[in-house]
Symmetry: C2
Subunit: 713 residues, 2 copies
């Protein structure tokens, strides 16, 4: 046993010296890669299959380097790597992926580790990102799949305050809060990466916070552009539904004239779950192809739930044996998507048996990790798992959701068909993938905060509606989802739509609310409002794709110097001109902060002066949206669903006097032809008295018909 | 950079081979050390300063080796070490230190990592122990200060179920609980220890579960024997109290004839906190020595709050500079208690300035770690800290509480003076130290469960009373602490005792409850009952010391084959013959399970047949204790405090007809002379009609006077 010790010692000596001089490479203007030591083969960046949007990235001209690449220190030692980045007292930090329960991240210790349970402020989340952005216009991305800890200004090195004796009068704390009040006195961010022999850090500098995020999204291949139907309504059926149930639900939506684009099937479609067989259960679905075809005739898409753990009964189980980890999950294999063959087997099966047969997308469940399944043990593979690709369980955990999503997404991309998937876990560089994150958590305020948090890292967060305790809770939850990236009614444990009965038990007994009819009408009205915003939302997504601008983002992204928005996590921006301020916790009123400029209430047309807060009243059948002055919002006549033939009849609402201009994006809505230039940016133009649409480039779809212009003063 | 890689590669090759053949050493009969690779210098066992009770350990004769040392596999690899221990489907596991929120530990993933926040089932706790015991009569202790993960039968290796296809009818889960219902199908325990180059595992075999725990405690030096006054009442003053407040409180207890042995001072006694100066604040305490002397005359001991982070204003700050970690906590140094000099400086200062001046003990706060201080950042030093002794922050975190406690305890031991301290964090091998763990958590059921959990690993847990929402809550909480290892009224944020006003805000305004008088009487009655049990409790502690039997323990420890107690976490055993079944959550009734045999209600003398549960009624002024048939419980006339002159006048209650025998331990109650044989075991003997006391050995204290014998049929 002495030889390894000698080597360890020599290794330590070598590594001790590996300090102070990291290598700096300029990737794009204002984007630097700072590295040291032997970096890992598989990192969030290396596994990203989509190329950066190099042209757009090269077009940036930025002179703001609030943090300079040379200021980033890396130390490699026996424990792993330690990265040090300067931090000022007057800057604010955001990010770390889909954080739940925290928003402004300075002064916190964060561990962006994949888990289905947020566990307060630890940093655990479905989508952990070793990436934060500063309101001073830079972002730091530690390109690793290892478990890391970020100390955001919470640490003090010994030397620095050797002689500091506080001379102020001591106040003895007699509350727990006072006792632990943090002073956040550290002047740096420290990142601890145990186990790493080397590390790569990306420094992204932008002229402002928004540009930093745009650059990150462009580095990820540009933001996702979902199919246009993806912006409609997705209804997920109860887990044990069969063909008849699905037919009935489809008929319900069409008869009742309630918009719906996608029906989602939960575990019951498969012969085996948990783990998964990926084979139709013929007792429930004797002829799935016929069902999909019938639903298609009514313009319903079909989405299938699954996870990546492969049951012994699955046709791909045996061929995946050598391309999976050494541990099973729920008796199923864990595919190693880092192996080409593992990927190919999984992908080909899904393409041939499901996507080729008409499936429009998947819900990719359980690709996170869990420390506490309900009342019992944890699930998923252990940290010490070994995978054929060579990574251990920890690294695979951090990458697993991304790899699974990449694999499934590639099926659709290769078919030149857009999808809009749901996934429960991902990491960095997923901006380009048309998919939204979801979670089992259900706190409404968390849901709203997560919309903002997701936007810092190129993620789309999809809150969902399940049960509720009251009319107002149900309607308020619905309003939030209608202002998010995807509208999901997740009824996997409800027999009937929640507006007929939002109590789970009564719902499953078929005991409807006495005012079910009235609620159904309210829901229809609200869903219609969402449908009327699809042209606007689709344009916001096009900006996400081409310019990297998140369609849903915190106010601080656009107003990084306004201190009123530093902690504002229950309002967010949608596209270029709308702001959402959801009502929650049954509130009939709420404070809404308006940043600089003049704003209009989208519901009442009331005018607000920016730079202050107003008390706003709840209106149950209208979405709490607010519009910037000089915006033109194209409001469509609602449709029940979106398909290739859909034409939107638009009312253009102009907010405020004087001239106004807006863009309106147009393409086929379903393929990736836009990547070959097959799209157009229309201009909506208002000269102060009348408006017109300028169709720039060749019209391909005639998707929009302007019916009226209305000036709101 | 290529040389380190080459070395790493060679190292890996060497370590790959380091599999399959761990070294096995027999430490004591039925206690094995199984090791492999290069183990760490500082481990929970290596830092333990108290010698194992070798004679007692060598006296065991055990043939039960449910798990054999040869069955324990260790693998060392690039990631660290992996330990595999067999696990049967019919055994139950307990332990992992002071777990909060879980009791039976099989089927769970556990990370015994030090933290002030339990975070549900992760395994985080103030006192994490890499140690579990089985009801089949063995314990596994992984002797490491690294962060570990235990997978207790939750993992399935791939090979084992390659062809297993479940053929049963699939039931589609439509509840979250059903979805994640764990099947716990693994047939082993796996322990992942990343970063370790080698590992040592102790296998402790016993004839039954109780013997395993006894052996562990004897390996730790035998259980703690607190000073007799430690079993009385400790009242912690409000944080900003001064000498006058202390005097008033002392007078209150004596005037009102409410028992109290110790007054505890919180942060305000020091010139600086947080971090600590360890210097008396003269504005509040102009003459601490005089105050201590005055209190001593009234038989009050004084206990001081502190933590180990050394403020620049402290006299020991500069001399500790070179014996502390590289990061500060709350602007204070973190002493490296693994360095002799660091220990010496800290200890000598405390001895000369505080203990020599009459301080009886300390409350060692904040020696755990925290991920979430209230609403802000975390505190304590980071995982990547470096300490002069060579350990990193992670290992120091796991050991810090133990090291701090060892250091402070050694002051008293060297003075041949017993203390009874409070500490907020510790690890393994602390059984011998007279100190109890505490926590900021306040859930009453958790408190009760923690009494049982602590007993699996030689820990003493001290629930405490602070605020309450109602009379019944206050009284029920008090009842629980009166049946625990220490009675602490922790009023650090209350101006007055909680029975005068249990609402925090009103208490501090001096607004007393309208029935304060009545509650005060109830509290006196209950505290008196505790005082009357001191002879019994002290004997239980003597058994802890000499035989290793935990004075407070789960029922499963004594009844390892009774499946009714496998999950029973709200009843526990006290000493040889009492069982406690605390009332909580304002319940006026509860189910109490009685194991085999016949039991008596200590309050009503009602008789119960064992092997079944009964509904028991709450009685506010009596402790819910139950007695085994043929027990003799010595019940003392209550005293207000215990000092060297205290004589207990006993009523011996005999439960059930026929002969009975019990022991009653006696020593000076204050020094460590008992370790030199200066003690005696008296025998209480009942011949069926009358009783007598046999004073074995030379009587030294005449501590006990039997006043009466009473037979309860």
């Amino acid at each position: 046993m002495n030889k390894p010790i000698l080597f360890l010692f020599l290794l330590a000596v070598f590594q001790m010296n590996a300090r102070n001089n990291p290598e700096i490479v300029t990737m794009y203007p204002g984007i630097y890669k700072i590295s040291m030591g032997q970096t890992d083969q598989y990192t969030p960046f290396s596994i990203c299959k989509i190329q950066p949007k190099a042209q757009a990235l090269n077009a940036f001209e930025n002179k703001n380097e609030y943090v300079k690449p040379g200021q980033i220190r890396i130390e490699t030692n026996e424990r792993g790597c330690l990265v040090e980045i300067p931090l000022s007292s007057d800057e604010q930090l955001y990010g770390f992926g889909l954080q739940i329960g925290s928003f402004m991240q300075k002064g916190l210790r964060k561990q962006p580790i994949v888990n289905d349970h947020p566990l307060n402020n630890l940093g655990f989340t479905h989508a952990p990102q070793t990436f934060y952005v500063s309101n001073k216009g830079y972002g730091i991305l530690v390109n690793t799949s290892r478990y890391t800890t970020f100390y955001g200004g919470t640490l003090q090195l010994k030397e620095k305050s050797k002689t500091e004796v506080k001379t102020s009068e001591e106040k003895i704390a007699t509350t727990t809060e006072a006792l632990y009040a943090s002073e956040s006195s550290g002047s740096n961010m420290l990142v601890d990466i145990p186990g790493a022999s080397g590390i790569e850090v990306f420094l992204i500098c932008g002229s402002d916070l928004k540009e930093v995020i745009e650059k990150y999204n462009l580095l990820s291949g540009g933001g996702a552009l979902p199919p246009m139907w993806g912006l409609g309504v997705k209804y997920r059926m109860k887990g044990d539904s069969d063909t008849e149930d699905v037919k009935k639900m489809a008929a319900y939506f069409r008869e009742k004239q309630i918009p719906c684009d996608v029906l989602g099937l939960e575990p019951g479609w498969q012969t085996k779950t948990y783990s998964c067989s990926y084979v139709w259960e013929k007792k429930r679905f004797p002829d799935p192809e016929l069902m999909i075809k019938d639903l298609g005739k009514q313009s319903f898409k079909v989405n299938l739930w699954e996870h990546a753990f492969v049951n012994p009964a699955s046709p791909i189980h045996d061929s995946l044996m050598n391309y999976s980890g050494d541990y099973q999950v729920w008796n199923g294999l864990v595919p190693d998507f880092l192996t080409k063959e593992g990927c190919r087997i999984f992908k080909n099966y899904h393409k041939q048996n499901l996507v080729d047969k008409g499936i429009s997308g998947f819900k990719l469940d359980e690709c996170d990790n869990s420390d506490l399944a309900y009342g019992s043990g944890s699930w998923s593979f252990p940290g010490h798992s070994k995978f054929p690709s060579g990574v251990d369980g920890e690294q695979m955990h951090q990458l697993f959701g991304s790899l699974y999503l990449n694999t499934m997404n590639s099926i659709f991309r290769e078919m030149n068909k857009r999808t809009y998937m749901d996934y429960r876990s991902g990491n960095l560089f997923l901006s380009a993938i048309p998919a939204t994150l979801y979670s089992d958590i259900y706190d409404h305020h968390d849901y709203i905060q997560m919309i903002s948090n997701a936007g810092f890292g190129g993620l789309l967060w999809s809150p969902e509606l399940r049960e509720s305790a009251s009319d107002i809770e149900m309607i308020q939850r619905l309003q939030t989802l209608l202002m998010s990236s995807q509208v999901v009614l997740n009824c996997w444990y409800l027999q009937f739509p929640p507006w007929l009965q939002y109590d789970k038990e009564k719902n499953n007994k078929g005991e409807f609310l006495s005012n079910a009819n009235e609620l159904e009408n309210s829901v229809r009205t609200l869903l219609n409002e969402r449908m009327s915003l699809i042209p606007y939302l689709y344009t916001a997504f096009a900006n996400y794709h081409f310019a990297g601008t998140p369609p849903f983002r915190a106010l601080v992204v656009d107003y990084p110097e306004d201190e009123h928005v530093f902690r504002l996590d229950d309002q967010f921006l949608i596209g270029s001109d709308l702001m959402a301020a959801p009502f929650y916790d049954d509130a009939k009123q709420r404070q809404v902060y308006f940043p600089e400029g003049v704003w209009y209430d989208f519901r009442t047309n009331q005018k607000y002066q920016g730079g202050q807060s107003y008390t706003i009243e709840y209106i149950s059948e209208k979405l709490p949206l607010f519009v910037k002055e000089h915006a033109i919002i194209p409001v469509a006549k609602p449709v029940l669903f979106v398909n290739s033939a859909t034409v939107f009849e638009l009312e253009c609402r102009v907010y405020g006097e004087g001239m106004a201009k807006a863009t309106l994006y147009e393409d086929d809505g379903e393929t990736y032809d836009f990547e070959q230039g097959n799209y157009q940016w229309n201009t909506l133009s208002w000269d102060g008295e009348k408006g017109k649409i300028l169709k720039n480039g060749q019209t391909r779809t005639n998707r929009y018909q302007i019916k009226s212009w209305n000036l709101i003063k």
